[in-house]
């Protein structure tokens, strides 16, 4: 749940990048961190293993400036995607306002995406949140690999597997090159801010 400070007119919004291991969640945040220096007032925090896998979370505070007189502070988090880390994944989801699901578009990751999305559904339920209600954006990542001859799932398949019931906005993306990273971010921020405004009214 977002926290709204009426005294200092600050709204803190928590957005979590969720998805299977090695899908590119951390790479999304790294790209944002490099590209939007002006809006990032502090260092990115990464709690990771020696092999650069996320152990607990990455954290990146992102300053949106003012909307209707309120200062919007977006807190970006990633979860650890590896199967064995579900306990910590759940901790990171606490109080989440909006989610980007980073799917790995590589053909061989098809099952892993579906399993991860199902677990997101369960994890949200444990906080009495619903995957059908929370602001959510799908990102089909690593589409750049197509050019390198690596088999990529067609968008129709990804949509059918992951988004046929949810029907949320989606983007093909490459966190490595930055393709649609900003578009994904903008979309989830606007959906989340709108949803918070609705709750307030």
């Amino acid at each position: 749940m977002s926290f709204i400070n009426l005294k200092d007119k600050v709204v803190q919004v928590k957005i979590v990048y969720y998805g299977p291991g090695r899908g590119g969640k951390t790479t999304n945040l790294e790209y944002i961190n490099r590209t939007y220096r002006k809006q990032i007032l502090s260092e990115m925090v990464s709690l990771k293993t020696h092999g650069d896998r996320t152990l607990f979370f990455d954290f990146l505070p992102f300053d949106m400036g003012q909307i209707k007189g309120y200062h919007i502070k977006i807190q970006l988090y990633t979860v650890p995607g590896q199967v064995k880390y579900n306990a910590t994944r759940k901790l990171v989801l606490r109080g989440v306002d909006g989610i980007v699901f980073v799917a790995d578009a590589m053909e061989k990751q098809r099952e892993k995406n579906i399993r991860s999305l199902n677990q997101l559904h369960e994890n949200l339920q444990s906080y009495n949140e619903s995957i059908f209600k929370i602001p959510l954006v799908m990102q089909y990542n690593k589409v750049d690999l197509k050019e390198h001859g690596i088999p990529i799932l067609p968008i129709e398949v990804l949509q059918k597997d992951l988004n046929s019931r949810l029907q949320v906005p989606y983007f093909e993306a490459s966190a490595l090159t930055g393709y649609n990273v900003a578009a994904t971010l903008k979309k989830i921020i606007s959906s989340t801010v709108v949803s918070i405004q609705k709750k307030l009214l």
Partner: protein, 133 residues
């Protein structure tokens, strides 16, 4: 308790109280955060320059991890969370299921003295919070 929106008046009262009860005793920085890592309020002695947002994210994670470990070994909770350094120390205290009070303090204050005052401050925060809700 609905902590999502606190009235301006309540926050001001809490800020004044935190300054009176803790900062004036020599605590460097005190903040109230929620379990999601949001900062409810932060007060300091004007000298400490912490990156409070990153700090809050890490502190919430730290607390949540220890809490989960407690449950694993069959404890309700580990009530005291305290990190001791050469020059500065961090003390965590649970206000309720959603909120934490975190104090950062140096060598001049003893843990026992701090704890007494933290308990008192938390009592006052609860009172302010429960007014008119």
């Amino acid at each position: 308790m609905n902590y999502g929106i606190v009235s301006q008046e309540q926050l001001e009262q809490i800020d004044v109280m935190l300054t009176e009860k803790l900062i004036k005793l020599g605590v460097d920085c005190v903040m109230i955060i929620d379990m999601a890592g949001n900062i409810i309020t932060a007060r300091d002695n004007g000298e400490s320059k912490y990156d409070v947002y990153s700090f809050a994210a890490l502190a919430a994670g730290n607390f949540a991890t220890v809490d989960a470990m407690a449950k694993l070994v069959g404890e309700q909770e580990f009530s005291l969370l305290f990190h001791k350094g050469q020059d500065s120390n961090i003390h965590f205290s649970k206000i309720d299921d959603e909120l934490l009070l975190i104090s950062m303090f140096g060598k001049d204050i003893s843990l026992g003295f701090l704890r007494l005052n933290v308990v008192d401050a938390i009592e006052k925060i609860r009172k302010i919070w429960n007014k008119k809700q």
